[in-house]
């Protein structure tokens, strides 16, 4: 760890007069085991490392990265970023973050014992996952994929402005996709579990989800088009929160790409909706002590009781809007500069289970999975149209499964057509928590 920060410090020390320099160093170790048909198909073990350097000089920004921590290459990367800065447009608001006195939360995101977990047990876990999925239901005719993966990563960030931040995290996952068959019908469903250490993985849950999700769709057909009430399963609602997130980035607002622009202080959703981004929540997969510019993470309320409170800011967007950063800088790794966005988005949960909500609603569609989010949802216009699989329900009880259909509305309407928020909050891999959402009057397209 200290060697990463020491290297970052040495490179920052090469800054010239008048230059702001930020050095991000990352290093990680990954293991991945894929099994098929009772045998190991592949076992990968790999170390990844890299550096990203940002230079701001005379109001211009340049960036460079390299997939290496070799000191000479890191130094070259600084030179390259410096040279690139000469071609940017002058922008008086450009500048690196400065320490703001907020202390980082004490988060337990790293389990050193993962390093000693034997590879043979990882392999056994993946094989056991496949066996268990296959055995879970006689209608499961194959396992499309079953894998175990883990990573241990560390990073260091240092800058001429006095930022010095280090992070360490570990994580592991199992995921399986089952193929269920009956007659000529084949349907798929996946299940997974994520944890900080292998002992905490819930194999039984992954198996149950893959099995139930694939078998309950058997016999699914294209439904007739109609307007109806939908229940979004937690994994689906988490994807929709991800779409909303882009409109809540101050960067989108400043650049005229947010459907929430100019609406701060207005009611944008039903009064029982509260949306918070809180990377200090230890259960959140996106939790972290620092944001991507090295400021301590903090809880930001974005929508309170339906009213838009504010946006996610990094240092640059804060300066553009005359306010401090709220520690919402995000970056995809050492290959890119920090943007502004969410890491641990969640709606305030209600108190009803999915079954209770189904009973409350009576008739509708439970959406189990969606496809084509990237091609059919436009976070700028708010239009969305996505492929769905799920179960129609009547009198509060599951009825016919459906496939090859879409649901469509706009994000703006969806926030106002919300009927209920479930109490079944679940932190999912990615940047958001899922919970069952009930939305009225959505267009279902089929035959």
């Amino acid at each position: 760890m200290s060697d990463l920060l020491a290297l970052a410090d040495r490179i920052v020390g090469q800054a010239r007069a008048g230059e702001q320099v930020e050095v991000f160093l990352g290093r990680s170790h990954h293991t991945e085991v894929k099994v098929f048909d009772g045998a190991v198909e592949s076992l990968s073990s790999a170390d990844t490392q890299g550096v990203g350097v940002r230079v701001i000089v005379d109001g211009r920004q340049g960036f460079a990265y390299a997939a290496s921590l070799d000191e000479a290459i890191v130094a070259e990367t600084l030179d390259e970023a410096r040279d690139n800065a000469g071609f940017g447009t002058v922008d008086e608001h450009l500048g690196l973050a400065a320490p703001d006195g907020v202390a980082p939360a004490d988060l337990d995101l790293f389990r050193p014992e993962l390093a000693d977990f034997p590879t043979a047990r990882k392999v056994e876990m993946a094989l056991e996952l496949e066996r268990a999925v296959r055995a879970a239901d006689p209608r499961i005719r194959g396992v499309e994929s079953a894998e175990y993966g883990d990573s241990m990563s560390e990073s260091a960030l240092a800058s001429t402005e006095g930022i010095r931040a280090t992070t360490r995290r570990s994580g592991c996952s199992i995921v399986a996709s089952a193929m269920a068959g009956e007659g000529t019908s084949t349907m798929t469903g996946s299940g997974y579990s994520v944890a900080r250490t292998p002992e905490d993985l819930d194999l039984a849950k992954a198996v149950k989800d893959a099995s139930e999700k694939s078998t309950r769709l058997l016999g699914a057909r294209k439904p007739a088009s109609r307007r109806l009430t939908v229940l979004l399963d937690p994994s689906v609602s988490a994807s929709f929160l991800g779409l909303l997130s882009s409109g809540l980035s101050a960067s989108s607002v400043i650049k005229g790409r947010s459907l929430f622009a100019d609406r701060q202080g207005e009611a944008v959703a039903v009064p029982f909706l509260t949306l918070v981004d809180d990377p200090t929540e230890p259960l959140a997969w996106g939790a972290g002590r620092y944001d991507a510019e090295g400021l301590a993470s903090r809880r930001n309320v974005l929508i309170a009781d339906g009213v838009l409170q504010g946006f996610l800011h990094n240092t640059y967007t804060g300066r553009r809007c005359n306010q401090p950063s709220n520690a919402s800088a995000v970056r995809g790794g050492y290959r890119s500069t920090p943007g502004a966005g969410s890491r641990a988005l969640s709606l305030a949960p209600g108190d009803r289970s999915q079954e209770q909500l189904m009973a409350d609603v009576g008739t509708g569609l439970l959406v189990q999975s969606v496809t084509g989010l990237h091609s059919g949802a436009n976070p700028i216009s708010g239009d969305f149209s996505v492929g769905v699989e799920g179960l129609l329900f009547r009198d509060g009880a599951p009825a016919e499964p459906v496939r090859e259909a879409t649901i469509a509305s706009t994000l703006q309407r969806m926030l106002l057509d919300l009927v209920a928020v479930g109490g079944d909050r679940e932190w999912l891999p990615g940047g958001a928590a899922g919970l069952t959402l009930v939305i009225a009057d959505v267009q279902l397209s089929g035959s």
Partner: protein, 462 residues
Amino acid sequence: MIDEAVVARVLTAALRTGGDFAEVFAEDRRSSSARLDDGKIEELTSGRDRGAGIRVVRGETTGFAHTSDLTEEGLRAAAEAASAASRGGGGGVREVALTRRDNLAPHEVSVMPEDVPKSRKAELLLKADDAARAAGGAIRQVGATYGDSHRKILVANSDGLLTSDDQVRTRLMVSCVASGDTGMQTGYEAPGRTVGFELFDEVDPADIAAEAARRALVMLKARPAPSGTLPVVLKRGAGGVLFHEACGHGLEADLVGRDASVFRDKVGTRVASRLVNLVDDGTYAREWGTYAIDDEGHVAQRNSLIEDGELTDYMWDHLRARKAGRQSSGNGRRQSYHHLPMVRMTNTYVLAGEEDPDEIIRQTPHGIYCVQLGGGQVNTATGDFVFGITEAYMIENGEITHPIRSANLIGNGPEVLQAIDAVGNDFDTWTGTCGKDGQGVPVSSGQPTLRVAAMTVGGTAA
């Protein structure tokens, strides 16, 4: 990139525990990009990725490790890790002798992007910004990104192969936001080719920007898309992604092999309308998915997949071909040295038919006309797929009428292929990135204007 003798010694080391096959894939990629947004050149970025992935295959198991250390010591460490991962039992020494094979490049690259002054790359973006904003006051925002990459690869394996390739790609992407009474709408245009900076001898950034702006302005007038089943006419070039999703992925031998494709056991049978002829061709000069060799060292080739509606073959990589006792079709690709190769498409094209494209529209009483699609997704095990429309119009009484808002279309691959009832005599291609199992690779797709008799359009208008 690496000395031949070193590669031979590393492969020998990789086989020391008894592997059947070992491979070194080394890569040195330099990339540069420039991004404009909100009227400003936000930044130029330079990137360097250099390293090697080593795999050892023993029986059904592949062991894989990668390293950014290209010294003999670093490569040997990765070879030993890969070898250990394949769980070899100890097999003595098997010396590897390499024979270098030179490849015929599909075309010459005339202007290496790294030789072009950075200021010229920035100028392209400013020109695009000006042109997009000149398209009308309703254009409120313009984003433009220039990107190039120069990827040198070396592949050597225990069959004695030693070969290399130099792949240069250049792309410009422009996106616009227009604002009007109906809110905000977007337009996007992003041509890319496997060429150097000479791309801009034929592609004018101002034209690309004007096209993206036109699209955003058209969408301001769009009405809600219909909901339900309709005939769908795809303009030339726009609909290649339909085939990429409807059957392309399902014809990848790795998915077929694990029984996760609806096209399993269908070779030699009718899987599409007789009007459909589909090829995957990595040799087309200058196309986005083109290369001299794939990422396993196999020479790119033209593979016929569907002829007159009959399935003729799948696409293959080294491992899947070896298992089936045949040659790879040159479709083994990987995103980078961090990844294992798998079966991937290159340039996937439906060949031109005989009908006049205008006539296809005239003979469609009520349907939609798709001019640009925005990507898609498929579940190969069920065959169900979606793709998004980003510029489309209603066809009423054989005429193109008003634009419709963006939506996904959904269908089932085998059913949609059978439902193609008209194929035009024109042709164009589309540039994209194909994602599979977390890896993105550059691909193109292409087709003539054609009609699907019925697909479900996922709009909101009843």
